[in-house]
């Protein structure tokens, strides 16, 4: 779609309580199949912005167009089959009595056949390693597992756009890897993913583009490499790039020429330098 899957035109949002300006004149276009990160401190407007994409919030002024239609004219229920929103706090999302029921709810709502409902449910259980928990009440699960159930329940709906709000918060290294795999799988399957996160290592490795929010404004919109290499931008938003990126930036002053986003990339870059296949930078040139 030439005009983009999601488009914000002069989007402002002012919360009625307290008259807080939460979004100030946001203009952006998101294409189908983009994998995108949104960063900024709490209160910078990240969550307010993405809640406009599935119609949970409506603009105070300006427009948000999703799939060619102005969200002001659509109900959240109509948008939710297109744009799935995984809440940061799974308690705001889960309500069924068992994990299985939770994972059947979405597909049933989409009026799928019983067979398809079960198929979607089982696919999600397998992908998120939820088999041991299938008969349990979501509230009996630990917070990280409950979060996976929240992601799984949206996964069963297979919306074109996935919004993940802080998917790795409270996760350990193993469950964080499930989130990585989820995003990679969604990319392969042609979904659009918008990931609001403070987890810079995750974003550096999985997203193609990062939106940086500060004080209700969109202050940068670029690739992770450009964003994390912009020290002034990082400093002004109090965001620290991944450690490996910081290291490559430090070494760039003397020897390396590439800003690296992952350990793998840095290994390859150093290998090139050491084997002499790429000239190192000297102080003279």
């Amino acid at each position: 779609m030439a005009n983009g899957l999601i488009r914000c035109e002069n989007l402002w949002h002012i919360y009625k309580t307290g008259k807080v300006v939460a979004l100030q004149d946001i203009n952006l276009t998101i294409q189908a199949q983009e994998i995108l990160g949104v960063i900024g401190q709490n209160g910078s407007g990240k969550t307010t912005l993405v809640k406009h994409f599935n119609g949970l919030l409506k603009p105070t002024s300006g427009r948000v167009i999703v799939g060619g239609v102005d969200t002001a004219r659509k109900k959240v229920q109509e948008l939710s089959s297109q744009v799935g929103y995984v809440f940061q706090n799974p308690n705001h999302q889960l309500f069924a009595r068992t994990v299985e029921e939770e994972l059947e709810f979405g597909p049933r709502n989409l009026k799928l056949s019983d067979e398809e409902v079960i198929e979607r449910r089982e696919k999600a259980i397998e992908f998120f390693n939820l088999n041991p928990y299938r008969k349990l009440h979501p509230y009996r699960l630990s917070f990280p597992v409950r979060k996976l159930v929240g992601m799984a329940s949206i996964y069963t709906m297979q919306p074109a756009v996935f919004i993940l709000d802080e998917p790795t918060t409270g996760q350990d290294h193993v469950t964080t890897r499930i989130v990585y795999r989820l995003i990679e799988r969604l990319r392969e399957d042609g979904f659009t993913v918008i990931c609001v996160s403070h987890d810079m290592i995750l974003l550096a490795e999985v997203v193609d583009r990062i939106l940086v929010m500060r004080n209700a404004r969109l202050i940068a919109d670029a690739t992770p490499r450009e964003v994390f290499a912009d020290l002034q931008l990082m400093h002004s938003t109090h965001i620290t790039p991944p450690q490996i990126t910081e290291l490559s930036l430090r070494l760039r002053e003397s020897t390396l020429q590439k800003v690296c986003l992952s350990v793998k990339e840095m290994v390859e870059t150093i290998q090139d330098v050491m084997s002499g296949s790429r000239p190192t930078q000297s102080f003279n040139n």
Binding site: G170, Q171, V174, I239, Q243, L247, V263, Q271, P279
Partner: protein, 291 residues
């Protein structure tokens, strides 16, 4: 200078929750010296929180179960002292600040603990002012705790714990629900309490890069047991062991390990664990290659 006096001594500790048949803690033997900054690393469910809860006697005095072995903190066997007594020695901060806050103002939040200790009202004011200053919340005495940012709330939880003048600050994933600024603030306060006030800090965390930079010692837990216990260099040097357990090491350590194993850059078994160490090591190695 680190004091070599042990402040925590745990011997042959086993604990099983009443709702379970599998022990949550198995054969724990651990000594922590006064003034140490100790981080605990492990997957969710590995026993980190259970271990922390034994330090102020919540286990076994409030959460009862089957316990064997002994936990001695500041010379007190936790079995013999009520939690309110242990609270004067061990300050606890949990991962979700909202669950810990209950009062109308920041000052009252801190006063609550002091009241429980029976501190007279006239003496409270100084303490409240002092602890708020330590955590950088001075001037916010009359604010509602719920109007604070996540990082501020967590620092208020730390201030409430400090008001009891504990010798040990125990924190269970204190940064898991806050933004990057909040994280920075919490780690800075913990470091300052440790370095400037000599307080023993024991913290469960997932952020291995930060852990490596601040900790004197790292303890790795898996299935209720202590698997590794040593300096950041010793522990994170065990890259393969940690990876097999599903744990990550600092990115710079992983880089060094891979460069070493692929024979691209030799590290002779000593991997850097902080950005500064990696910077220095690689600058030296790569510098040689400069044309």
């Amino acid at each position: 200078m680190k004091n070599q006096q042990p402040i925590v001594q745990i011997s042959n500790l086993f604990f099983t929750y009443p709702t379970s048949t599998i022990p949550a803690l198995k054969n724990i033997n651990l000594t922590i010296n006064e003034g140490e900054y100790v981080s605990i690393l492990g997957l969710n469910g590995s026993g980190k929180t259970s271990l922390l809860l034994t330090l102020n006697g919540i286990i076994p005095n409030m959460i009862m179960g089957e316990m064997e072995g002994m936990v001695v903190v500041d010379g007190k066997n936790t079995d013999d002292y009520p939690v309110r007594e242990m609270a004067k020695v061990v300050g606890m901060v949990f991962d979700n600040p909202e669950f810990q806050l209950s009062q109308m103002t920041v000052a009252e939040e801190i006063a609550l603990g002091l009241e429980n200790l029976g501190i007279p009202y006239k003496d409270m004011h100084n303490t409240i002012h002092q602890v708020l200053e330590i955590v950088g919340l001075e001037g916010l005495e009359e604010r509602s705790p719920f109007s604070l940012s996540g990082g501020q709330q967590q620092r208020l939880s730390i201030a409430s714990a400090l008001a009891m003048r504990p010798k040990i600050l125990v924190m269970d994933e204190p940064t898991s629900n806050v933004d990057p600024i909040g994280k920075e603030e919490i780690f800075r306060v913990a470091e300052q309490l440790n370095r400037e006030h000599g307080m023993t800090v024991i913290m469960a965390e997932h952020e291995v890069e930060v852990m490596a930079a601040y900790s004197d010692r790292i303890i790795v837990m898996s299935n209720g047991e202590i698997i590794l216990n040593g300096t950041p260099t010793e522990v994170f040097g065990q890259v393969n062991t940690l990876n097999q357990m599903g744990l990550r090491v600092p990115q710079v350590t992983e880089l060094a390990c891979r460069l070493d194993q692929k024979r691209i850059v030799p590290f002779y078994g000593q991997y850097p664990v902080t950005l500064e160490q990696a910077d220095a090591a690689l600058r030296a190695e790569l510098g040689c290659r400069k044309v």
